[in-house]
Subunit: 333 residues, 4 copies
């Protein structure tokens, strides 16, 4: 970390600041120039409060040289992490094809969709049991019963399942769930992240609507710093001024996250675009960008879904998409 | 709610959709024109899933005519709500001057600041005990001990206190807290909102970093629909591309929220700007825009705060600010 | 266009508005429901000022049913437009591989790069002569001399050239330029667009930093409405809160623009990301998303470029990228 | 300017870079630390291309210590600039109350509005003659005839006038215009800015929809670097995800611009909010934030305006607003 002091800072003031920094167990390297003094802070600067330091009257600006995340950082873990979920691997060349309905609605529905997507090449089943909805009056999911139905679909097809948790008090219900999803709105629900860090379940962590990639990695770090290294990052679109799509899918996130971190990165084009006809091109683009997996909504009857049908593919569309994604994956090797 | 059907929709398809809508207990008024058919949906449309309806192949677009929030809606509650907190009233002409440190650090600190801000005209004390921090390695607040110190400061000064909750499991610790704050990152932590709706505590609900005003009101609705009508809305800046300020304070939110809702609206210029020298002009602007209160960070020693010192005023600066805010409030009557 | 009138609007007020609308040569279809009155406006609504209509006291809201652009609209021109540039075609299955340096710097440089990119499969040469720079003190390009050098490179390689215009007074200098580029900052320089609409040159129109896709199409409409139908749309990233990349490349724009318009869409990953190592994955993703072309910066000596070297590929990197893009294009057919 | 070199940079590489920087007439101060080497660049760094420097393989990051703008910079011009327009002064305690219709429509209209706003305290008349419109089919203003009518209104009332230029070729028509406005969409039309810099007319420069405050100041610098120091900055809202208001008015811009620059800052709440009922509170907030002026749309018959009526006040509303703004200005002294 570098702190640049303002012109006119006295020797005494500089000494006072250096002494304060050394109390935080940092080595400080002072470099006096004609127009400014630069302090180089060496040691564990992840605990230094940059905003506080910047606020001091004698400080002109502060700049981090190293990233504030450690366990998620590729520098300290150069090889790709591979997350094992049942028989399925994600990351390091292994591709997750996650598909299923937005919401679990009935036993018939979830088993039918699970069988269809498995046949078309999906290796993980998704389905919402607890649904975060903007309105308290909207359908909030089948909750516990939904998880039970997902487990039946898992039994029927052998597919591992991923579903969203909204509240740590529901954790017991997720005992047999293979991957626990943290939704975009909970990406900075730090207490939830910490509790999930105490489990050993793979966690699919979605990027928040207005969060930077560094913040996403800091949220992964919350989970990892508690001992759980099984984190899968998920890009699902950010909020911009564009209104034609629900959100703006940021595919450069795939490369940037791979550069900064060893964790696998999957892409959810269904929530990002909100329109089923945009899902196939964005899924293919994600594969071409090097994503470690795709997560798409598939429904057996899109026109009657209880929620979000607008963004779901039919099984036939998913089948075709899967073929194209595989061809692209072969093309980029 | 209006649904516009595409050109070429058959009579049979229209009848099918109308019948489906009537099953949701809606009256449907069909209007056939030369180029389109318009369905007017009448009844409780707050439960209708607009995205699902939009997704149907025969539907061109869907438009809400009435807002999806009810209890927070000024239409059904024309008079300003006045929230009572101890001896203090907020809203309907009553102004909350909320001040205190970002984090509670020690008994001496919090009592000293509480006394100073009381003397300068604050009527509510703020202070963070549980601190949401981007990094798991940053100071996370004094937690339970912090709340105990806030209660001592309340005892010493008589000021009601407001502090942030991050997890519903900590609710018992807030028994003597006067106003429970929900932070920006938890604005859509719906399970937390629902549980707070079951209490009768005033809730200070902060707008999320990338949330619309309608979403803020829907989150208020989550609390109110469970029975707790004591919601105070708080504008604290949204995230934009501008980097000079931490966030962009959206002061038009004050007028818009007053137009749409009867709930009081307070403004937090400290978090919005992140720079103490920008706090006074933005606090004065908030008062001029008609805010029902201001929430500012005040510290007895800004240069040594454990966190966020960059955005805190000194007691002397707060004293001057309070005088100016009062003068502006007199000017706009 | 649909206008929804407020509850309580009188018969007289409605009649007054209907008469005003009919004066604009619109047919008006009035539909009275229990809770609202809906006016359906039929005819050439592209000239109706939605904001004005919305502002009338009796109007609750206004909604366009048809898009405000016509000549750029796929509805009225279902087949893909194919733009001919010398021997090169763009759109309708024809792919533009546009490459070259950010700025033209010398005859040696531009000819060397042109030969290298041609050998690696580029079919159009790009190069900046007039450079829009945030600072008046930064290098503003070689201007007229730069265009002369581009023309020499065209002569040497046979590649058609594309370069940016900043001011209509420079149009004469572009007589032998094959494609005139309008940069992001000039996307809504309407006077420039109108003048370019009076030429018959292909125009490469870049999306503005904060413009919606509909606004981009309206700017294309400015050019087309003056008679020039040779417009190529270009997605080059939008401004968001993310700071790791220079801008956020919005690849869903490719599919959305293809859906709404018949014009070809190319993608510029160099300006979008600002980092050369992110260019290949984003170029491949663009190809997988169905783009009609890619525009990338290539430099023979990235470490010494006068500007923007950070985002330029070496010729060897471009060569490899071209192979991968072709493989992806084969995979998605 | 500070450049931080990567770990592992060799002595030779460092020497090579230092020599290159010295060729740009910079002094370089090298500071070697245990974990990094820091170069301090001293001299005229405004011409250094930060992106190029950052792109070099041995450079970890680059940070400006001083702002890239000079003539607009308060550091080199500590006192507020006061811009003289006829008998009216703006800045340094002098307040501009600019009012008038969105578009000039007729002699009767503009003179009637001019007289009304003058009587209510306006000291400058605004009115659009050249109108930038998203659609080529929308009303584009009365153009030259509109300017002639504005001049008649100036003659009738003595009010100086401000109106927008869209194209440098129209400059002759502005010979008797008092203040030339550059609209948000042309904020980075650098050729236009340079030409305006060669005049001595006061220029009202509006912030672009997605531009940072530093970029606004760099655009002011384009004008000033050509010799014209009469620049008035204007905040008029930025584009965000919020849809209730047309744009999001960023009032912290007033304080930030005053901190960074000596130029006067006016606020346009009409375009920012797009709703006349939000104009008075935002105008008052702007005054409380310390703005040097307000620019509001006033129309004698809002329900029949040819454009933008939604955001215009009636003369009576403007009269009341002016009283309130004056009271606030007295309160903040």
């Amino acid at each position: 970390m570098i702190a640049i002091l303002k012109n006119g800072t006295t020797e005494e003031q500089t000494a006072h600041l250096v002494s304060w920094l050394k109390h935080m167990n940092l080595d400080v390297h002072v470099s006096k120039g004609a127009e400014m003094t630069v302090l180089g802070l060496i040691g564990d600067t992840s605990r230094v409060d940059m905003e506080l330091l910047s606020s001091l009257e004698i400080v002109s600006s502060v700049k981090r040289v190293s990233e504030p995340f450690k366990q998620a950082n590729r520098k300290f873990h150069p090889n790709d992490s591979i997350i094992q979920v049942g028989n399925v691997k994600i990351g390091g060349g292994y591709f997750a094809m996650i598909a299923g309905p937005c919401s679990v609605e009935s036993e018939e529905q979830i088993i039918e969709v699970a069988q269809a997507v498995k046949e078309s090449g999906a290796n993980i089943l998704r389905g919402g049991a607890f649904k975060p909805r903007t309105s308290p009056y909207a359908f909030q999911g089948m909750k516990e019963a939904g998880i039970q139905l997902l487990l039946k679909a898992k039994e029927a097809t052998g597919l591992p399942i991923v579903t969203e948790i909204m509240n740590i008090s529901a954790l017991d219900l997720f005992a047999d769930v293979d991957i626990i999803q943290v939704g975009a709105r909970n990406m900075q629900n730090f207490d939830l992240l910490k509790e999930l860090g105490k489990t050993n379940k793979p966690i699919l962590l979605k990027r928040g609507l207005a969060n930077t990639l560094q913040e996403l990695l800091m949220s992964a770090e919350y989970i990892m710093s508690e001992g759980n290294e099984n984190v899968i990052l998920c890009e699902r679109g950010i909020r911009t001024f564009e209104t034609y799509t629900r959100n703006t899918l940021d595919l450069s996130a795939v490369s940037v996250l791979h550069e900064l971190s060893h964790l696998p990165v999957v892409v959810d084009p269904s929530h990002a675009t909100g329109k089923s006809r945009l899902v196939p091109p964005m899924a293919m683009a994600a594969a071409a960008a090097g994503a470690d997996g795709i997560m798409v909504e598939v429904h057996n009857n899109p026109s009657c879904a209880l929620c979000d049908g607008a963004q779901s593919l039919t099984p036939a569309q998913f089948d075709e998409l899967n073929h194209r994604v595989q061809k692209i994956r072969e093309a980029i090797v």
